[in-house]
């Protein structure tokens, strides 16, 4: 329904008008600082720019010993009424997300993480030149499993050496994965670091994606990653238990490779 029409419009090639009136945009990475006010400003800005779904990201360093993971920010603390998305009449949906940084290569090789670990997204760090090359077999396995690759763009906006590393790492990734299952998000900490969905799709062009892939990176692939996260709680993506007395959403019976755009009931 919405995404199908959105991607069909993208296929008409040279049309320059951005027919974004149908697609749902998501920015899956807003860095949660300690400042609630900045976070609130960020979410309001995201709603004003047209994002329907945002995820607040908590970053945790992986340590050997067991550690306390801080409690995620409760959405009800931030807002009493969620701001309305520009262009639609629904309020913005705010989710939370956890990112684990694994810096020890012997403990957990990144490429092994693609294939075995139960994650939804693999973030490609852009802050330094990657010490390893992407190899095609693990990446293909990850794509089949439905794991997405995430590229972040706010370092590129801030600093020019970061920009070089971001673009080179992104192009490297594109040559291996051919643009499938890639999402682009901002690691924004302040309200002025986030960019609108059309601008982010243009950034995708700089990163080596084709125009249709870049639009998908902001809309359909994000949705696929979210659904992948939901299906981890369910049995084969068909049955899910919900606590509230609401009719459970009839999930599609496609397995973890939730790349197919799905109509929400």
């Amino acid at each position: 329904m919405p995404e199908g029409a959105g991607s069909a419009a993208a296929q008409t090639g040279a049309r320059c008008s951005c027919d974004f009136s149908m697609a749902v945009f998501a920015d899956l990475d807003l860095r949660a600082g300690s400042d609630l006010k900045a976070l609130r400003g960020l979410v309001e800005n995201a709603a004003h720019l047209g994002y329907s779904v945002v995820a607040i990201n908590h970053v945790v360093e992986f340590k050997e010993k067991k550690q306390e993971i801080e409690k995620p920010v409760a959405v009800s603390e931030l807002f009493t009424t969620l701001p309305i998305v520009q262009g639609k009449s629904r309020p913005i949906k705010v989710l939370t997300r956890l990112t684990i940084i694994v810096s020890d290569p012997s403990h957990c090789n990144v490429l092994v993480a693609c294939t075995h670990l139960d994650v939804d997204l693999v973030c490609i760090t852009v802050t330094e030149k990657l010490p390893f090359y992407f190899k095609r077999p693990p990446i293909n396995v990850a794509i089949d499993r439905g794991v997405g690759f995430e590229l972040v763009y706010s370092p590129a906006i801030k600093d020019s050496t970061m920009r070089r590393y971001t673009i080179s790492n992104a192009l490297n990734l594109m040559q291996v994965c051919k643009g499938k299952n890639v999402i682009i998000s901002s690691a924004a900490e302040r309200p002025l670091e986030i960019r609108g969905p059309y601008d982010v799709a243009n950034l995708g062009l700089l990163f080596g994606l084709t125009e249709s892939d870049a639009r998908a990176a902001v809309s359909t692939n994000c949705r696929a990653a979210l659904l992948h996260g939901e299906t981890r709680k369910t049995a084969f993506g068909i049955i899910s238990t919900v606590k509230k007395p609401r009719p459970s959403e009839a999930d599609d019976d496609s397995l973890p490779a939730c790349k197919k755009a799905k109509c929400e009931g």
């Binding site: 320059c16 008008s17 720019l49 002025l192 960019r195 609108g196 059309y198």
Partner: protein
């Protein structure tokens, strides 16, 4: 065809400092965009984008900007716009960014989109405003803009341009 084809980029300047929009001038903005293109795409980008580049419309109250560039190079301009982080005028630097709303082939399509967008903004302002006097003023603007739907587009553009309540919201 002998005509030069252009692309018109409709952008909105978003900033948390209200003085930033008042400092919008076409020379300042034109210099800023050219600088950013030179930073991102280098000498080739700066040279190729400067031939057809112009700032066609500027509204300091709402922060709407209409840029023109040649069709062959519009992607270079489009992809350099997210890298704008501040606006500098008379020695003051204001952090801001440009949000692209619409890309059109002619000024008329951009105008149609802008009217539609402004109408939606008025409705959102109506929801958010707290003062009775403001509410009446906005309601009058909304009804006026709906009545003028059949009239020519230029009048509507100048009508919905003067939005003082928008400063209260932003």
């Amino acid at each position: 065809m002998v005509r030069f084809k252009h692309r018109y980029l409709l952008c909105e300047l978003v900033s948390d400092d209200p003085r930033c929009r008042l400092n919008l001038e076409d020379r300042v903005l034109s210099g800023l965009v050219r600088d950013t293109i030179a930073r991102v795409h280098g000498t080739f980008g700066a040279a190729s984008c400067s031939i057809g580049f112009a700032v066609r419309y500027l509204n300091a109250y709402t922060g709407i900007v209409l840029l023109r560039c040649r069709k062959e190079f519009y992607q270079l301009v489009c992809s350099a716009l997210p890298f704008i982080t501040y606006l500098e005028n008379k020695g003051h630097r204001y952090p801001c960014f440009l949000n692209t709303l619409h890309v059109g082939g002619t000024i008329r399509t951009c105008q149609k989109f802008l009217i539609h967008y402004n109408r939606r903004q008025l409705l959102m302002l109506l929801q958010n405003c707290t003062d009775e006097g403001e509410r009446e003023a906005i309601q009058k603007s909304v009804t006026r803009s709906c009545l003028l739907e059949e009239r020519s587009d230029e009048e509507q553009l100048s009508d919905s341009g003067g939005e003082e309540p928008s400063e209260a919201m932003e």
